[in-house]
Amino acid sequence: MIKVRLHSVGILAPGLAGWRETASLLRKETAYTASGLSPLKPTTLKPNERRRTTNTIKLALEVADEALKQWPNPQQLISVFSSSEGDLEIVDQICTALSQQGRPVSPTQFHNSVHNAPAGYWSIGADSRQASTSLGGLNGCFAAGLMEASVQTAIEGKPALMVCYDLPPPKPLADFIHVRTPIAVALLLSADNTQGNALADIALRPGAGAEENRMTDDTLEALRLAAPAGRSLPLLQAVANRTTAKLSLPYLPDLGLQLEVSPC
């Protein structure tokens, strides 16, 4: 199994405004109240860049900001960004432009259309020249991102930022792509199990057979299924409650990601 230490979490979804609030909710200290997202203002982006970027980029960077709030040197972080759908707002605008006379594709939108656009903006804002990988993975993209960040951390010996994010598609695509809620989750991981003040130790490996864990609360279960990053909730629940747990997260149709979580 690959072993990593989880240092911090960033999370944003309707009713889940940050890790402190989410952890309290996952400990059943507070009740879930649905609410919209507050305006996205990630500090990693300069104000002029914020205007040129999209909601997808801002959502990903906002949770990265939260996970790194206490981390002294983001320049040293490897980054892994994982998203099932990428930036569908841009896809809609580019494909609309391509169906028009003269095909007026916006150059800024085009360079923001690459799947690694949030990672690119993050590396610029954080001044990180470390390796950066951007992944897909449908509903398994949280597990894929967690595994990739853990593998990189374990092998390369550097701490890693992992961000998983997706937004619901704009109208014409909404009938075909079933992301219903904006959800983004960021994890800060390292292979250094000596550093204190961390949230949990996680051991993981891909494996078949185990049924994926669900949330017992109906509202949270609906949120788990509402976007790929929602699949992180069983893990976050174990972390928030400081419990030792064996979990299975959805990864591939016939293969799960098996986790052993323990408080540290």
Binding site: G86, I94, V105, P107, I124
Partner: protein, 394 residues
């Protein structure tokens, strides 16, 4: 500490030069470019493209019709060359299907399907037969290839623009190192679409002429399409195969679509690859440049190469053969590097008439035949995402 090399025991590639290894090798030997004036249906751009013939007419894999799109057609066509499918069957018997990882890179996946669906909108609604999860989605080619090959191991879709299918080698190496899998199929697929043709045009990065990397008059890229796949294994079983010796990955942290002017990020990727290979710059015989033929890309890469290697290793870009195959550039040029190692070939920097006097790397305009032992291949993408790989003879 150098990494443990992996052997590349089998590979295949399809691009504008043709289907399979012999087509690519023959064209590289004979200075034959696969580029042609843009004749992609429904385009009105003055440029050249590296198009793969036969995709429109081919029969797609029965039973996997939902995955039918240009990108997956290209993947399927490529996998049918050079006995790749039977070789994968043998690897499954050797290792078990669930012990072989799949690592694929793509930039735009099957976005052409979404472009076509938008042209077929009625009352603002997309057609009912549109299945983006199996076509447009970044993971589409991973789902398709995993099912086609009957693999059961981990499956990673990397999409970091033009470094996507170089980074698959680094990812596969790490997964094998951790023991998550015992062997890996790496690859990359990117296909022509209006999004990249008109998007790069909007950025003024597409040349109206045939592309001329490192030329005084270079003025942009030609876009191409390609697919390539390779089987990576631990060396103990295959002492005579070429090897992945090192990888390096970095970010520019500079700009979304313009490289760091001094090539700092590119240089870091190349330095890391040398470190992981346990090699000094003087031990590299040939560099297959990213060499896209835009003013700023070639200038930045030149700075990085010259700062690290001086004028010693012979360098060339093979974009003049295939065009810039974007998310498939990493795998295509990695596999070109293997063809070069195995055949003692240094491809010429096709189409370039006069090397830019401001650029200092040792560009070879004419192909050369000589025995070489180690090749470095560069792939750099939007977002400042860099990957360098080093391959060596057996």
């Amino acid at each position: 500490m150098p990494i443990t090399p992996l052997t590349i025991t089998h590979y295949t590639l399809t691009n504008a030069l043709g289907r399979g290894r012999d087509a690519s090798l023959g064209a590289l030997r004979n200075n034959h470019s696969g580029l042609r004036p843009c004749d992609l249906p429904d385009t009105d751009l003055e440029t050249w493209i590296g198009r793969v013939d036969g995709l429109e007419e081919m029969t797609f894999k029965a039973g996997l019709d939902a995955f039918d799109c240009r990108n997956n057609r290209l993947a399927y066509l490529a996998m049918q060359q050079d006995d790749f499918l039977p070789v994968v069957e043998r690897a499954k018997q050797d290792y078990g299907a669930d012990r072989i990882g799949l690592f694929l890179g793509t930039s735009t996946s099957g976005i052409a399907t979404t472009e076509a669906a938008y042209r077929r909108r009625t009352d603002g609604r997309l057609p009912a037969d549109y299945v983006p999860t199996c076509t447009h989605n970044i993971f589409s080619v991973n789902s398709f290839v995993r099912r086609l090959l009957g693999l059961g191991g981990p499956n990673l879709a990397i999409s970091t623009a033009c470094s996507s299918s170089a980074k698959v080698f680094a990812a596969a190496h790490r997964y094998i190192e951790t023991g998550i899998c015992d062997a890996a199929i790496v690859g990359g697929v990117d296909s022509l679409c209006l999004t990249t043709l008109y998007g790069f045009s909007a950025l003024d990065l597409v040349s109206a002429q045939i592309c001329r990397p490192w030329d005084t008059e270079r003025n942009g890229i030609n876009i191409g399409e390609a697919a390539g796949f390779a089987l990576l294994q631990k060396p103990r079983n295959n002492p005579s195969a070429p090897r992945l010796l090192g990888y390096g990955e970095s970010s520019d942290a500079h700009h979304m679509s313009t490289p760091h002017p001094q090539g700092d990020g590119a240089m870091s990727a190349m330095q890391q690859a040398l470190q992981r290979a346990g090699l000094k710059p003087g031990e590299i015989d040939y560099i297959n440049l990213h060499g896209t033929a835009t003013r700023s890309n070639d200038a930045a890469e030149d700075r990085a190469v010259y700062r690290l290697f001086g004028q010693q290793p012979a360098c060339s870009s093979t974009k003049g053969f295939t065009g810039h195959t974007l998310g498939a550039a990493g795998i295509t040029e990695s596999l070109f590097s293997l063809l070069c190692l195995e055949n003692g070939l240094l491809p010429g920097n096709l189409q370039t008439r006069q090397t830019d006097p401001d650029l200092q790397a040792n560009i070879i305009l004419q192909r050369q035949h000589k025995s070489i032992s180690r090749v470095l291949s560069n792939s750099f993408g939007f977002g400042g995402n860099n990957c360098s790989l080093i391959f060596g003879e057996a």
